[in-house]
Symmetry: C2
Subunit: 131 residues, 2 copies
DNA sequence: ATCGCTCTTGACGTTGACGTAAAGAGCGTC
DNA sequence: GACGCTCTTTACGTCAACGTCAAGAGCGAT
């Protein structure tokens, strides 16, 4: 194994483009729980994976509360009733994400149309300037 | 034409599931500009179309400031320099949306995997219960 | 040992997107 | 003509997600 099994807070901020404040805030909110060497935080690959999940969740519009809920659902120590509940939650997330894809496609369509219009106007302006 | 050409604030709140406060707030922010009959707001189909754009923008993660920027870009009264600038902004939006789609697909993949795991555990639990 | 660096913990500040409460105008109806 | 309803403006409140100090601990290099 050549991959480092731990990371400092500074390494992760640089890797993901977030501030240390952000990572500490996520910890306060119970989203990650790095170990400590003295007072210094030591992030494991598992912490890092959770951070990736958190940031991706954020980019697709989930609140930290929703992300926390999802992360908690990954604890694989539950009975059948809890599993069924978790499954339901997952299906809900899938539905909202699918709907979001539709919204995004609609937005993309309009933006592409806008660009086409702009290009048409620009080329007509150039045509006039060439007269 | 059978489509009503105007709407009250109440009609639109019900149609889109937002509060009147929200629509007035968007007006304060310069995103929409309904006419008035006396003091009462009268929304046109154009206002309604803008509201659809605003809400969709919000769902895909744009801030109101960004949405306002996009809406303002639809004023077709600009010179070539402004058009080029607008075009650039549109391309930027497209890039972020494309990236978002990738994030969504990643999230969907993980959620589907999670569901598969849950189903596996559930069926193994049922198999044990049947012994 | 002290400089400089990164790390830490509070605690208050900020921004965006509204919520909410107060006070009033118009208007159909009983 | 008073009641109830929806509409309005004004203004302060709130919540999430951090930012921004302030004050200090550890620690390798000079």
């Amino acid at each position: 194994m050549t991959t480092p099994r731990t990371y400092t807070i500074r390494q992760l901020t640089k890797e993901f483009g977030v501030t240390a404040r952000t990572l500490r805030f996520y910890e306060d909110e119970g989203l990650i729980a790095p170990e400590r060497r003295g007072q210094t935080r030591i992030y494991s690959t598992r912490d890092r994976a959770r951070i990736i999940l958190i940031l991706r969740g954020r980019r697709v519009g989930f609140s930290l509360a929703e992300i926390r809920e999802i992360l908690e659902l990954y604890r694989h120590d539950d009975g059948a009733a809890q599993l069924v509940h978790t499954r339901k939650k997952f299906v809900e997330r899938i539905d909202t994400l699918e709907r979001q894809k539709i919204d995004i496609d609609e937005s993309l369509k309009q933006l592409h149309q806008g660009i086409a219009e702009i290009d048409a106007r620009l080329s007509s302006q150039r045509a006039q300037a060439a007269e």
